[in-house]
Symmetry: C2
Subunit: 668 residues, 2 copies
């Protein structure tokens, strides 16, 4: 970041810089295509023969050149401005692109030392793509710099915003494919910018990667005009910066590079202006953050036409543009012409080392997008400060007598957690507008809902900066918290039990990310993702049948116990003990189901701590009416033993206290 961003005026790059950028792009495109096709002759030192081609062709070429173009230009921006940029790549199947860039910038070699910048390392990279034991065809936790996997599309943009909260110097560049842009979660995530505090948060620079086609059909955004796109994203609240990548001629390429340089410089200046104003105490009434619409033909720089059918600029570029190159000589020649069009002999020396001018376009050290420290949140993670939960315990004189709303007790503890960590700005509560309804409103004595756009007199507990983020989109909430946790912070997601199943599949994808991360030695643990479901399915008599949907617990019970914990605290003190534990746990998905309705209280704080640590226990004491002692088996705080309990499915039989027997075998 420059000392004074206002001096960072638009720079039109000189010819030499554009040539180097273009050479970098050619290199990344070459490596992208090579990964999809080649198992030998990696530098095309001989004529291409069928045996050089992988026996099974996998990968998605269509999005690769666009991602590479954006990556190259973000690299330039980072060098030029010493900017701190984290990349979230929506088109997860574009892994050949990300891998090519990570290889060239050297961050791949930091984690995979055998992927050296020479012919041996290059051969390993190219061969290992979509190969048993090698890199899969889409981004995973094993890809450096990645906090988002793709696969199930729609969550890149909101995840990027999650990473940007409370990281004031960070720019999260987010590539959104126009296929992904058709999903609901993405369509609403464009609104996230209204929640960013320009003073205390970083920002997201969305780059709509508009290549017009999804798997086999036109995209919706690819079918609407530039003017309509301008309206749409202006309506979403952005300053829209369009870039066209025309690819017919050398002049066309040069113009595209110049346009992208202009757009990124303008975006950067716009971002820093908004932030500087806010940080000097004069925040804009409506920060109009920049976004870029980068339009390019799908699979550009690839095969233009094959057998009389267009390939470049059509859905035929989506995956492997021509899959029969081992058997069809014409197609093999077309592939060779395509690969040679990048002039690899200019890009790599005889030892396979990339040209110095190409490497010089990359940032260095932790400024490389593959090395951005925020991508390895576990390294940045500070321990969350917590008060002693016993200080918020309800008094239990006679068991089962006093009635309390468990969440109403919990809110006082959470209010204190917020106060203790206010200075660290590393704890957030993210919720679909159900804080008050879930009896957590006391939290607003310590903080407010964050919303950066104008509110009106009478709006309560809402302001430019606060620890609570509320939006009526469970998808957005889920993605925000994922992005926030993966970048090393802490949080909690309170939600109605009935509606948390909306993110059922998102949670599944996140569970996979955690599971795979645990297998990557350079990804230290991150804080667990904790759900607090406090409007339980069985207390929805007033809301009716549509609000009864207990299936989420069922989905979690089918996940691996190594990454999932389920808690059913039966009273306020058990809930306090449970949440206190969950907020310190790592690499798990914690599901806490607890009541907001007044419920009998059973255990003292100390007893609750013991009970929760044990996982389950038999309680016996004098009955309330008769002579026999009541015996209650409670399933609260099952973390040490959940694995066994969950596997044996004995929640159902054992839990008499919280009456949730049916939640394991939910009715329709």
């Amino acid at each position: 970041m420059t000392d004074d961003p206002k001096t960072a005026v638009l720079q039109v790059a000189g010819l030499a810089e554009i040539e180097d950028l273009h050479a970098y792009w050619r290199s990344a495109n070459y490596l992208g295509a090579a990964q999809i096709y080649l198992q030998d002759n990696f530098l095309l030192e001989e004529p291409l023969r069928p045996e050089h081609i992988k026996p099974r062709l996998l990968g998605h070429w269509g999005t690769v050149p666009g991602i590479n173009f954006i990556y190259a230009h973000l690299n330039r921006l980072i060098r030029q401005q010493d900017a701190e940029v984290l990349l979230v790549t929506g088109p997860g199947h574009g892994a050949p692109a990300n891998l090519a860039n990570l290889y060239l910038e050297g961050s791949l070699g930091e984690f995979y030392p055998d992927l050296t910048l020479d012919r041996v390392g290059l051969a390993r990279l190219v061969r290992s793509f979509s190969w048993p034991g090698g890199f899969p065809s889409h981004l995973t936790p094993g890809t450096p710099g990645t906090i988002h996997e793709g696969g199930e599309l729609g969550y890149a943009l909101a995840t990027a915003f999650g990473a940007a909260f409370d990281n004031p110097d960070l720019i999260v560049a987010c590539i959104v494919g126009d296929g992904e842009a058709e999903t609901g979660p993405t369509a609403t995530a464009w609104h996230c910018a209204k929640f960013l505090d320009p003073a205390g948060d970083g920002t997201v620079l969305p780059i709509l990667h508009l290549n017009g086609y999804k798997i086999s059909s036109r995209t919706v955004l690819g079918a609407i005009s530039a003017d309509e796109l301008g309206h749409l994203f202006t309506g979403y609240g952005y300053e829209v910066l369009p870039v066209e990548t025309a690819t017919d001629t050398a002049e066309g390429y040069a113009a595209a590079h110049r346009d992208m340089i202009r757009a990124l410089d303008k975006a950067y200046c716009g971002i820093r202006r908004i932030q500087e104003e806010a940080r000097r105490g004069r925040p804009a009434a409506k920060p109009r953050w920049p976004m870029i619409i980068q339009r390019s033909p799908k699979g550009c720089t690839g095969i233009e036409e094959l057998d009389g059918e267009p390939v470049e600029g059509s859905y035929r570029s989506h995956q492997v543009p021509t899959a029969d190159v081992r058997t069809n000589t014409d197609h093999l020649r077309a592939l060779e012409r395509w690969l040679r069009s990048y002039r690899p002999e200019e890009l790599f020396d005889a030892d396979g080392r990339p040209a110095p001018a190409v490497l010089a376009t990359c940032p260095t050290g932790d400024k490389r997008m593959g090395m951005n420290p925020h991508a390895y949140g576990g390294r940045l993670r500070k321990v969350l400060k917590r008060p002693d939960f016993r200080g918020f315990a309800v008094e239990v004189r006679q068991r089962g007598k006093a009635m309390h709303s468990d969440t109403k007790e919990l809110q006082k503890y959470l209010r204190e957690v917020i106060r203790l960590n206010e200075a660290d700005a590393n704890f957030r509560i993210i919720c679909p507008d159900e804080m008050e309804s879930n009896r957590l409103g006391a939290i607003f004595e310590a903080t407010t809902r964050q919303f950066a756009w104008p509110t009106v007199p009478g709006d309560e507990h809402i302001g430019r900066r606060g620890r609570v983020l509320e939006v009526l989109s469970e998808h957005t909430c889920q993605a925000w918290l994922q992005g926030y946790l993966l970048t090393g912070r802490h949080g909690l997601f309170p939600c109605y039990e009935a509606f948390i199943a909306i993110v059922d599949s998102m949670m599944g994808q996140y569970a996979k990310f955690l599971k795979q991360s645990a297998e990557v030695p350079w990804r230290p643990p991150v804080t667990s993702f904790t759900y607090l479901l406090s409007s339980e399915g069985w207390r929805q008599d007033h809301n009716g049948y549509s609000h009864q949907m207990p299936g989420f617990i069922n989905t979690l019970l089918n996940k691996k116990a190594s990454h999932v914990r389920i808690y059913l605290p039966p009273d306020a003190n058990c809930l306090l003990s449970t949440i206190d534990h969950c907020l310190t746990s790592t690499d798990k998905i914690n599901l806490v189901i607890a009541s907001k309705q007044p419920m009998p209280q059973w255990l003292t704080a100390d007893e609750a701590a013991v009970h929760c640590r044990a996982g389950a226990s038999a309680w016996a004491w004098a009955g309330t009416g008769g002579n026999d002692p009541d015996v209650v088996l409670a399933c609260s705080g099952v973390y040490p033993t959940m694995e066994v309990l969950g596997r044996r499915g004995c929640f159902v039989a054992s839990c008499l206290s919280c009456a949730r027997a049916w939640s394991i075998s939910p009715t329709c």
Copy 2:
């Protein structure tokens, strides 16, 4: 519909018409508020006393006056133009509004004969709201005219489009709350208009009901300016018609009514113009359908202020504006002033009969929105024409030898189904851009993808009218098909197995709708909702871990067997038999999981029919290599016995043929 809609010029209603509309609105508002509060003194013939108030106050007032306002004006439009309007109400918790209108127009009485338009019926209506055995606080299949329940928000708009396809004369008015508008599924559903064929389809008239607040916070759309809203919805492709409901004065109300009349007339003319042009063979390049933004203070006409805090126009109007009226005399008086402000003595006669001028504002017969025949799709449903599936069977000479892609065989049958029903225009395949990828591309020999906005040369199988709808939003696909089936048509939803869990909770809500519908005698069965998952989780080695997500079957196994069927056809002929059966079944959710990858073929068509009817069978024949016969237990076509099999979880053990053992106990 007028003979020539172009003559339907804007009409500015005279004072008398506006007075009647306003009296209707007051009546509906009075009945809405009365349902929330009163258990006696329904016509306020005495001073309001605590014992007149229900002991437990439930319901959501905030959205009620807005829904009533829209309902009143849609009634006027219907009468004026003899229009055919089906209403989809997104804010499902606004049931007191819908019930009030359905009562006044008399359609409630058609199904609940004791809800007569007199003091007895009125008392029954008011008392039965949110009362055991009475109407719940949100819309359900028991609410006349309803094809969408609400509860889990986000799906109203896309469901409305589903109802509009292939109903050329129908206008589906869809009320979208600004809370719901924050959800992803709604945010992308605005694009649905680009899929409507103005010649062969009806249309949706979206009405954004913008009252600024959700449960306890400002809405995102409520915080952006009229200008920005204009950009946003222009960008989505609409002609934006804003209406402000100012409520301070009688003049304000009159102006609001006049504005809404103008907007609806303009919208109607716009709709009919687009349709007429297309039906005369001169379709607009980009049909710019109208949408209305109706902005009004939340809970308008309610209590303005209480204890110095604003109620009207704030989140405090969201549910019950003042809940302590039985114990707080000041609040009871405020409630009474509010209720009396509607002047019920002018609206109902001494026998509780609504004033004739009020009733005269309602349409009659099947033009009433509660009586729209499309809301009772089972009554309109025509049997789907199907060819004999045996005509598409693969030949099985030696069991387990020939390899075929099962879906590649199925596509020929489906192509014929499309041809046979082309004239009836009552069958659609709805898919998230995976038709080709799921090996169903032969369908495009008989039809095309429908997309009404311009495409470019080279785009294939896409045009203004076709039987296939593809959009990369599983939410949109699910809602489209729900709306299409509930209005009496037929369809199929092919999807990747990995990503169908995106609609896990939507499917759950739909299952509830089917279950409740079956308990409503005046809702005849509709065609089943059939999923075809043909990119199975266990064949995703090339796509990787993110594409392995077999949890959807697990969710379905936990639903009631009365409404759910699961099929795992092991070969092409079993798949043909299964789909042939599913397309004729009613009121079920059918899950069919079948392979697109080449698989061994086992049964002849006749054997497949027998096997599928039996549900499961033991196959024995000479082994391929040794002397012992191979025995294969196959679980295909489990419909008659699924209940038993599913409940005992023995899919896992018994199914050797399709190797899906792990799909029941999915890994993380």
